[in-house]
């Protein structure tokens, strides 16, 4: 039978964000996949260069709606390293607290989406219903559900009060019970299990060779976690376990993520019990001295890397973001080989992709004239306005 090419995306019901996948299929079986990035590139790195350090933090926060705290923490850490700012201990604990709360809501979101992609919509709706518990807690502490705006260069912007701690404690009790229930459902429900078991499999060697990060790597038995391996914020003082599994398939990914939610709940309890007193921020200068720094952060989806260079002015010279999805997308291409067409959506969703975070710059090559264009931020936004 001849091989047929099926395009999925850039606009496709199975994808939540525009990205192009071209599958070569032989009957029901996927032979290979060609992934083309670049459909939701937003030029945030370039836009940062036009903003002051203070403004850039809020723009960085909007790279991702799910891991907003991850990106700002990563960025602020880099800037603090350049400027030599020592972040107060209480601020570091609050950063870790938000990082873990974010991890819980991100993993519950993944669980719901995984349920949705395999046609188990009850799990999707219930998981997302209970995700509201943690989102409400985030909102009442920080003032926003998604873009918490907690980070600033030199610390955090809002303190966690006694009342917040009490409310958070109650939310945790409720969540703990629900997470136990979902773990039982996801790992023991025969229909859900059989859609995940053995699907989207990568071996440990492949996971290392392809440079996967985060839960994708841990589900293949690679024991990596930046919180332990290269501690930032308050993780050097917090005891926790790194969850790994050895299946390498999507069931293992579910095991790892559900285990991480439970671990995050424990970390949050530890933080609120051991929250140190003291200031929550130190004043950062408006002009950051010249220098460069690279910062790493274990986002819910994996290792997030920010590179920041300052020329001594009030604006960054260069900001470079490597979101975790870019590292994991190769694992999708690998695990797609030999998969069934019906499993395409769940394999893509399996790495918890965030395409707009990942998208790279597009250089415009005019094939007919051979002209290459690289646009400035002002030109790009003028074009966007003209086309609206």
């Amino acid at each position: 039978m001849p091989e047929i090419e099926i395009p999925v995306g850039p606009q496709h019901p199975a994808l939540k964000e525009p990205e192009s996948f071209r599958f070569e299929v032989d009957g029901e079986i996927v032979k290979s996949v060609d992934i083309r990035l670049g459909y939701v590139h937003r030029g945030i790195e370039k836009a940062c260069q036009d903003r002051t350090w203070v403004q850039a933090v809020y723009l960085i926060e909007r790279i991702c709606g799910i891991c907003s705290h991850s990106h700002t923490t990563c960025f602020c850490q880099a800037v603090e390293e350049i400027a030599g700012i020592e972040v107060p201990r209480r601020a570091r604990f609050i950063r870790s607290l938000f990082g873990e709360m974010e991890r819980i809501h991100s993993h519950l979101l993944w669980l719901g989406l995984a349920g949705h992609e395999v046609g188990f919509d009850s799990l999707f709706m219930y998981a997302w219903h209970d995700r509201e518990i943690i989102l409400d807690a985030l909102e009442s502490i920080s003032g926003n559900r998604v873009n918490y705006g907690m980070n600033t260069i030199g610390g955090v912007r809002r303190d966690v009060t006694e009342k917040d701690v009490d409310e958070l404690g109650r939310a945790l009790d409720l969540l703990e019970e629900r997470v136990k229930y979902y773990t039982d459902v996801a790992l023991n429900e025969a229909t859900f299990r059989s859609r995940l078991e053995g699907v989207g499999k990568i071996t440990r060697e492949q996971a290392i060779d392809l440079g996967t990060v985060g839960p994708t790597a841990r589900s293949a038995g690679v024991d990596v976690d930046l919180r332990r391996d290269d501690p930032y914020a308050a993780y050097d003082e917090i005891p926790f376990r790194v969850i790994t599994a050895d299946g390498g398939d999507l069931l293992a990914a579910a095991v790892v993520r559900l285990g991480e939610i439970e671990e995050s709940l424990k970390i949050i309890r530890y933080i609120i019990e051991n929250l140190p007193d003291g200031p929550i921020a130190v004043k950062a200068p408006r002009r950051i001295p010249a220098g460069e720094a690279c910062s790493r952060y274990e986002a819910p989806r994996g290792e997030d890397i920010h590179y920041v260079r300052s020329g001594g002015g009030d604006k960054p010279l260069r900001v470079k973001v490597r979101a975790p999805t870019l590292a994991n997308i190769n694992a999708v291409a690998q695990s797609m080989r030999g998969a069934r067409v019906a499993d395409i959506p769940i394999i893509i969703a399996g790495i918890d992709p965030c395409f707009s975070c990942t998208d790279r710059m597009v250089r415009l090559d005019d094939v007919s004239s051979g002209r290459t264009e690289v646009l400035t931020w002002a030109q790009l936004s003028a074009r966007c306005r003209a086309s609206r």
């Binding site: 903003r51 403004q55 809020y58 219930y126 009442s140 705006g149 429900e189």
Partner: protein, 126 residues
């Protein structure tokens, strides 16, 4: 392992009321610290431009109101509700209110400026 593990919970839910509410007839109370509409007490404003300089959404412009110093004009249609203006204000003239329902039929209804010759804040009528 088992089949239909969520079924007991699903059947129970048949007898619960929906999780959604009948907005706008019913309202969700805004949490205490919600960062809603930023409001400026123009009588405290010293026209230092700190808010306009730090606003990441460029939602604040400084306008001449016939006084010695310019006063900020807030464009809520551009606002990202981050609260940086309130943080940057040296006189603490800007506060983030809990007001989140800002829909309006015109852009003019989404602007707040100090009225000329008056120290009081006036929100343009929509």
């Amino acid at each position: 392992m088992g089949l239909a593990k969520m079924l007991p919970e699903l059947i129970q839910s048949l007898f619960h009321k929906p999780a959604t509410i009948r907005f706008p007839a019913e309202r969700v109370p805004a949490p205490e610290g919600l960062r809603g509409k930023p409001v400026c007490d123009f009588s405290l404003c010293i026209g230092c431009r700190a808010c306009a300089r730090d606003c990441p959404a460029m939602a604040i412009e400084m306008a001449d109101v016939g006084e010695k110093l310019p006063k900020p004009v807030f464009h809520y249609d551009r606002c990202a509700f981050c609260g940086q203006c309130a943080d940057s204000c040296p006189k603490k003239a800007i506060t983030m209110t809990r007001e989140y329902d800002l829909a309006s039929f015109s852009r003019a209804g989404l602007t707040s400026r100090a009225r000329e010759g008056s120290q009081r804040q006036e929100v343009a009528d929509s």
